[in-house]
Symmetry: C2
Subunit: 286 residues, 2 copies
Amino acid sequence: MKQYIVQIEKELSKYIAVLNAPSIIKEAMDYSLQAGGKRIRPILLLSTLHALKQDINKGLACACAVEMIHTYSLIHDDLPAMDNDDLRRGKPTNHKVYGEAIAILAGDGLLTYSFQLIAEDQQLTPTAKLELMKLLSIAAGAEGMVGGQVADMQGENTTLSIDQLEYIHANKTGKLISFSVMAGALIGGATQKQQELFEKYANHIGIAFQIRDDVLDIEGNQDVVGKTIGSDVTNHKSTYPSLLSLEGAKERLQYHIEQAKGILRQTGLQTDLLSQMTDLIAVRDH
Amino acid sequence: MKQYIVQIEKELSKYIAVLNAPSIIKEAMDYSLQAGGKRIRPILLLSTLHALKQDINKGLACACAVEMIHTYSLIHDDLPAMDNDDLRRGKPTNHKVYGEAIAILAGDGLLTYSFQLIAEDQQLTPTAKLELMKLLSIAAGAEGMVGGQVADMQGENTTLSIDQLEYIHANKTGKLISFSVMAGALIGGATQKQQELFEKYANHIGIAFQIRDDVLDIEGNQDVVGKTIGSDVTNHKSTYPSLLSLEGAKERLQYHIEQAKGILRQTGLQTDLLSQMTDLIAVRDH
């Protein structure tokens, strides 16, 4: 898995290096890409290819694309007009370093580049590229991540139902996580039955990921998490712990992790890496 | 040409209406899409199809996509961190109506949706879709529009050379205008020779468009232009008139218009609408 991270980060650097653009925007894009994320989405994509015993190189461009989309969303979310965060992964946020205007444009550039990466990739078939770009645009757009972010903002200072909370997270974080697994399945030539199992699996880890996020906002070590702890309470946000109690949230986390791992076993594939990723989502400290 | 505008605006509305997303983001996206632009880019695309005697319906999705990209760029450019404009096309800018956070997300949503429109279109061939998405991502991204916007910001309070000025505008506005013509040529099945002519034509009207923009910032009627006049001088921006004098800029505008129309004649195609568009770019009052 560490190998995957090294490879992804090398590719991301290369993609920025070859851009024929003003150096300040390349720097700003690179700064956030290289700020040391966990690379959960690209690793999920490559681990799904690994499960299907496929060459992971076939998924590298798409893995970088999804990491770029994720990174752009963080840059825009951190802006003063949005969450107004000064720290991300323990480092100053993009707009703190480059100013708001460049941060907005760096996000726009990453979002746009992600589609170019897939469109120009040499390893994917035209059919796969088209399907991936379609799924990615849906997962990332107003019907997915952007819509979830809007619903999240609207939910502040309100007590949400657990259904409303799940709607927000299914869109805000779930759909891009789900895309990552499904992209691996698609590139790796999974059967219809396998794709259905991967989709269920992805839904469970998407929810588990968010519950862990909420728990970390209460129990996490700020230096390790790399962002301000306790901000959900400060911002009066409904979270799994606030709706289910801390213990209840942890039980639900455990439930989704077990379901996810059960589904992996059902696939009969080489899911050792996906299983490790699932555990990592449950116990991660940042 | 008025028919084209009606059709494009109807399609844009439909695309927003079918989105399964929080109503506030749909409203914000729709607000700027329906704010009464000149629709120059989509009309160029459809007029190029018309020149090739092709069914313009084949280009409608792509025409809407390019208008969405243009609109997202205006929403983000108007933000307080960027140009801080309160008025656009005579109406309050997106963030003035919906707040900065929603305006940023509406831009992100439009940019992402533009790729979905092309990916999901029923009329284009898979090969055409892939090529269009590749060209669009390049034209709109850090190597195109986003890069041009960065260079434009960096050029404020500096006296630029005419080459630097042309670099900025070739990227900031030229590449998306060029994409619009080239997308029409591609969808319409233009020959290699025709594509080369269309590319040259597009370069000339791209520059002409920008010169006219600079001239309008001096001579325009604020109520008609729909945005603050004189802002280039206030912002100490280099412009064609500031580098070439107002008369010199007008001469250069005329030169590019004549070149563009000469190229249209060379194609031997049904270029009446493109020719009208070219004149419109030269004399438009907003």
